[in-house]
């Protein structure tokens, strides 16, 4: 056995610790200067770190930091649909709620929306929030978060550990950040159009029209159909996951709907003007859901949101009720026809069946804020849902659905064949359904 003196031990430990500290200091320094996520912007040099491609795949981290920089008083919460479609610069926002920041991001869950709401309010008290929900949010599925959600990036009351330690130093000393810094240094000649606006909105006109993007390669019509195909897979996978997990869940786990309740309760307690919307997906999304036998889930989701807002209103009779606007359904906006086959013409209202354009977002916010600033939203677009209107509204949608299918038999048939798996590679408008596999 090797014999070691005390002085040797102390020297050994000091050298080892100093080496580790020096290595970390070097990495922190490099990451601070290169700043791959655009957090600090201390040094911005052409050819070194001006292009920051790492931002695009870590939107949750970037937005958590941008909230600290922008200090908004109004925010948008939601998924990529709200991220793309709802303008923080819309004229209808309360002037006291400016600046407004679009805090929506891809695949946002209600649990994540709640935590980002608390974060934004902790940074600076909020005045106004627009909550953009998809119908799948208002369910009893367990509340979840995505892989890049990190609660330690977010501020909240009573969070004892300073952000400098739990967020800044932790991220700066991370090997992932070092990798991102190296990738940033190597990507300076690859100039990508910037689709991430300063107010947090994703600019669809830039994002979809980047060279090499599927929207450009397939054309608007081809891209729309491709998203429909993917949507069938996503919904099927979600249905399989739900059935595999069974209906039993641990008594202590919270659901996605529970976090909507938390958001409502938080805004009430903090006197934040909350406006809730169900975002306007194209009817192809509704038809896919119906073809998968999940139509009832959409109606139950809307009933659930109405129920919790009704309960909230009953608990706060002296305050205005929180409004719920439903922009799904079979309106003249959501039933927009696809471009002719072979055409590269764009749709007016939609990028694909999931994502609406800013013009539709403006119609939405016009309704939500009661604004009519030269734009005229189609009268059949959007309905206020309350306990007294929900059932008639749902019946109306069902009637419109039947009318849509009668008027658009090809569309309905295309969706059915997509779901049933017997679909051609690209749609032949002269063919309703084709047997065989792609």
């Amino acid at each position: 056995m090797l014999s070691v003196t005390r002085s040797t031990t102390v020297r050994y430990c000091v050298i080892a610790a100093s080496t580790a500290a020096a290595l970390l200091a070097l990495v922190v320094g490099i990451n601070l200067v290169v700043d791959p996520f655009g957090t600090y912007r201390l040094v911005e040099l052409e050819g070194v770190n001006l292009q920051k491609p790492a931002v695009h795949h870590r939107v949750r981290l970037v937005k958590a930091n941008e909230v600290r920089q922008v200090r908004p008083r109004g925010i948008v919460l939601g998924t990529s649909r709200s991220h793309l479609g709802l303008r923080p610069s819309h004229e209808g926002w309360d002037p006291e709620a400016r600046p407004v920041y679009n805090l929506a991001f891809d695949g946002a869950t209600t649990k994540e929306m709640y935590h980002y709401l608390v974060h934004a309010h902790t940074v600076r008290p909020l005045r106004q929030v627009v909550l953009g929900l998809d119908t799948y949010h208002a369910t009893l599925a367990p509340a979840t978060t995505r892989p890049d959600f990190d609660p330690y990036l977010l501020d909240s009351p009573g969070f004892g550990v300073p952000a400098l330690i739990r967020s800044d130093l932790r991220i700066l000393s991370s090997l992932d950040t070092a990798r991102a810094s190296l990738a940033t240094l190597g990507a300076q000649n690859d100039r990508q159009p910037q689709w991430f606006a300063a107010d947090g909105q994703r600019l669809g006109d830039v994002f979809f029209r980047r060279p090499g993007e599927p929207f450009e390669q397939l054309g608007p019509r081809g891209y729309f159909e491709e998203i429909d195909r993917l949507e069938v897979g996503f919904k099927r996978a979600g249905r399989l996951a739900a059935s595999a997990g069974g209906t039993a869940r641990p008594a202590t786990s919270e659901t996605s709907l529970d976090y909507i309740k938390r958001i409502v309760a938080f805004c009430r307690a903090e006197r934040i003007d909350l406006r809730v919307i169900v975002v306007p997906e194209h009817v192809h999304q509704l038809e896919i859901t119906a073809a998968l036998g999940e139509w009832r889930a959409i109606e139950e989701a809307k009933r659930a949101i109405v129920s919790l807002l009704t309960e909230d209103a009953a608990q706060h009779p002296d305050a205005p009720p929180i409004p719920l606007w439903d922009f799904t359904g079979y309106s003249s906006v959501t039933t927009e026809a696809l471009p002719p086959s072979g055409s590269r013409a764009e749709m007016r209202f939609y990028w694909d069946s999931s994502h609406f354009k800013s013009i539709v977002g403006d119609f939405v916010l016009d309704r939500v804020f009661g604004l009519n600033d030269g734009r005229t939203a189609p009268p059949d677009f959007g309905v206020r849902l309350t306990a007294s209107t929900i059932e008639s509204a749902l019946a109306q949608v069902r009637a419109e659905q039947l009318a849509y299918r009668r008027a658009n038999p090809e569309e309905a048939a295309w969706i059915r064949t997509l779901v049933e798996g017997d679909t051609p590679g690209r749609r032949d408008t002269n063919t309703v359904a084709v047997g065989g596999h792609r």
Binding site: M1, L2, V4, T8, T9, R11, Y12, C13, I15, A16, A17, S18, T19, A20, A21, A22, L23, L24, V27, F37, H57, R58, V59, R60, L61, T79, S80, R81, D106, G107, A108, D134, R146, P147, D148, D150, R170, I171, S173, S174, L175, D176, T177, A178, A180, I227, L230, E231, F234, S354
Partner: protein
């Protein structure tokens, strides 16, 4: 000990290593699985009951063997696993690195002592190496995950 006896002892030791390794790998499945049925299904899959597919990057090595479809290519992972397995089996363990033998030599390594070059010393070189490993370990503790999924 004769050369023959030594060779037989070595073979026996390697065989016992392999048996122990397989036993531990099988046992781990039962610890990790949610229930007995899942464990048995997993073991069946591990022993080929669901067929065998090569990752796309290794498909050319055994022509005629099915190649896995899907976006994930596990070829690199298999390669890394093979290297790590070799390191675990044939590399020095901490007792051999540090020369620790325990009370009355109870924990002494039964194999021939490793070359002095790889034995730990309280030297500057070892201190720097360990410091670098410690720093790297701290850097690996923080994940900054990506999310690459635009759809929702």
């Amino acid at each position: 000990m004769t050369a023959r006896e030594e060779a037989t002892g070595d073979r026996g030791r390697y065989l016992s290593h392999a048996i122990t390794f397989v036993a531990v790998v099988v046992a781990w499945v039962f610890f990790r699985a949610t229930d007995l049925g899942s464990a048995i299904r997993m073991l069946g899959a591990m022993f080929g009951s669901n067929g065998v597919q090569l990752p796309p990057s290794l498909g050319s090595l055994w022509p005629g063997t099915a190649v896995a479809a899907g976006p994930i290519d596990s070829g690199v992972a298999l390669g890394v696993s093979a290297v790590l397995l070799a390191l675990a089996w044939f590399g020095p363990n901490t007792q051999e690195l540090t020369g620790y033998v325990g009370p009355d030599g109870a924990n002494a390594s039964p194999t021939t002592p490793r070359p002095r070059a790889i034995q730990w010393q309280p030297s500057v070189a070892w201190a720097v190496a360990v410091g670098c490993l410690f720093g790297a370990a701290l850097m690996l503790m923080s994940k900054v995950s990506e999310f690459i999924y635009f759809q929702f």
